[in-house]
């Protein structure tokens, strides 16, 4: 009797464990079911490499949005990357135990602030700043990059921090014993050893930036053209979905799901690289 019960429990738990796979499948299935038909109808090339987005008139090109999504993501990395990495180095190498106890939760809080709040503060403070001192409307590539750069800080910091902490103590001791300064040790020994983990942090940060929606539609200006300067407005893949989903019907809605398919593929690729590609390399 007891044996059977254990079996029953194991059976139930297996079902539970399969639920996440099932949900993943469901999400993929429904995004693909809605998104793929249009690829077949309009043509893969006309969507991915099409320049014109006029879904009510039969054009579904999202190439400018793909480019814009990557542009803001790299912008965010330029802003958040060095800052995040230095923070991680500071936390791991310079800060005392007390400081660490104080700083780590503070950074967790940064991650907890909702994206709408970032977007709001961006509109109120960053956008006018850009408009008044740099020109343009302020709803621009640069404003979006700054806000996204701050938003991805927690991801970059926590993963880089873990990577730096996992560099064996002996590496540092060896380097210091040979007369290298702390900076030389960090620069020449610690960071290179933690390189793959830091890379993973950056790539996950990219994933976060490319998937961010609400803050982006508030600050980016959402123009359909590929931005030609830092001060131009732009529309990302996520922004396209969020702006138009509520309104869309028929092919227009399918077009938004096609946008979703492209976004999903990009995100999955980034996550795969960060979680599996890089981790495997690290194990070697």
């Amino acid at each position: 009797m007891a044996f059977n019960k254990e079996k029953f429990i194991k059976y139930i738990l297996t079902v539970f464990a399969l639920s996440s796979l099932f949900f993943l499948f469901l999400i993929f299935a429904f995004i693909l079911i809605e998104g793929l038909p249009l690829f077949l109808k309009v043509g893969f090339k006309n969507i991915i490499f099409g320049f014109k987005w006029a879904p009510t008139k039969g054009s579904f090109g999202i190439f400018p949005m793909i480019v814009s999504s990557f542009l803001v993501t790299f912008g965010a990395l330029i802003v958040g990357g060095p800052l995040g990495l230095s923070c991680a180095v500071y936390l791991a190498e310079y800060s005392g135990k007390r400081m660490k106890m104080l700083l780590k939760p503070a950074l967790e809080l940064l991650a907890g602030i909702p994206s709408v709040v970032y977007g709001f503060l961006g509109v109120i403070y960053i956008v006018p700043l850009v408009r008044n001192y740099l020109g343009g409307s302020g709803f621009s590539l640069i404003s979006t990059s700054v806000i996204l750069g701050v938003m991805i800080l927690p991801t970059i910091i926590s993963i880089s921090f873990d990577a730096i902490m996992s560099v064996p103590r002996t590496y540092r001791e060896g380097s210091l014993a040979m007369g290298a300064t702390k900076w030389q040790t960090i620069y020449k020994v610690v960071i290179p050893s933690a390189r793959s983990g830091i890379m993973a942090g950056f790539i996950l940060g990219m994933g976060r930036a490319i998937g961010e929606t609400m803050a982006v539609i508030m600050i980016a200006g959402n123009a359909l053209k590929i931005p030609t300067s830092l001060l131009d407005p732009l529309r990302t893949l996520t922004g396209n979905i969020a702006l138009e989903l509520a309104y869309a019907t028929g092919d227009h809605r399918l077009g938004l799901f096609s946008t979703g398919v492209v976004l999903l593929v990009i995100i999955m690729a980034l996550n795969y690289i960060a979680n599996f590609g890089i981790k495997k390399k690290r194990l070697k």
Binding site: I12, T56, V123, F139, N222, A223, Y247, H252
Partner: protein
């Protein structure tokens, strides 16, 4: 042994609750109170909410639920019976004519700029030029040498549809033009950016933005009623077939003297 059984029971209970709540979903309609669900155009939504507030004060046994979504979504929701009443801020397209529409009022579309902008009037050609991307600098319109920050609405918006019909005359809105997804957010951009221009529902015009005269005619209620200001579109309530009694009661209220007065106070053009 007993403890485990209880725990298992709780687990099953939660699971059951899960299933139950799913099942309840389908049949959760039978209530004492009358509920009217309305969805659609974000331009009509604020006014409908206002009307609903007054309506519910007078008819406490009614609940009016108002959602946004956009004109096209309103039409769609109405077609598949998701809502009792759909809201649209543009005329129905040919393939949507199966729905019954009631014009509840008319609304002007105002071309708006920041109050700091010295310009007071533009011609239709100039407006068309700005949104078509041919006119890019305020210099060309007789102001300072500064780029124009034009703001449009997204595809599918009733306001954009009407703007395209009434102003653009088959010309495309340029890809470089910024896009916001509601009247309110367009207004926010215009109110904060001194060099911006956009178009919003006349009912939302207030001191924070300045409405421009078009071809010399200012967007006022008199000018619209007299037919001089021509950028006008209807606000429609849509029903699939004849409205049921609850929806009928609400629509009658909106079309009554009282409802129309409320709309008029909000800056819309009554149909009395």
């Amino acid at each position: 042994m007993n403890g485990t059984k209880i725990r298992l029971l709780i687990l099953l209970l939660i699971f059951g609750l899960f299933c139950l709540s799913c099942g309840r979903g389908g049949a959760g309609a039978g209530k004492d109170q009358h509920t009217v669900t309305i969805a659609g155009s974000t331009s009509v939504m604020p006014f409908t909410e206002k009307l609903a507030e007054y309506f519910m004060l007078e008819n406490p046994d009614y609940i009016v639920e108002v959602q946004g979504g956009g004109s096209t979504a309103g039409v769609q929701a109405c077609m598949n019976y998701t809502v009792d009443i759909g809201m649209s801020s543009r005329h129905l397209k040919d393939n949507e004519k199966a729905l019954t529409d009631v014009t509840i009022c008319n609304d002007g579309i105002a071309i708006v700029v920041n109050p700091g902008n010295p310009l007071d009037t533009l011609t239709i050609e100039q407006i068309r030029g700005i949104f078509n991307g041919r006119i890019k600098n305020w210099k060309d319109l007789g102001w300072i040498d500064r780029e124009i920050d034009a703001v449009s609405r997204e595809e599918g918006s009733g306001t954009r549809g009407s703007f395209e019909d009434l102003i653009m005359n088959k010309l495309e809105i340029d890809d470089g033009i910024m896009v916001q997804d509601s009247n309110g957010s367009v207004k926010e951009v215009i109110a904060t950016d001194p060099y911006a221009i956009g178009y919003i529902s006349l009912g939302l015009l207030d001191g924070r933005v300045k409405g421009l005269a078009v071809n010399g005619v200012s967007p006022t209620m008199e000018n619209i009623k007299s037919g001089d200001y021509e950028i006008v579109r209807p606000f429609l309530y849509l029903t699939n077939g004849e409205p049921d009694e609850c929806a009928r009661t609400f629509i009658d209220f909106v079309l009554s003297m009282e409802g129309q007065t409320i709309l008029q106070k909000e800056g819309l053009i009554d149909i009395l």
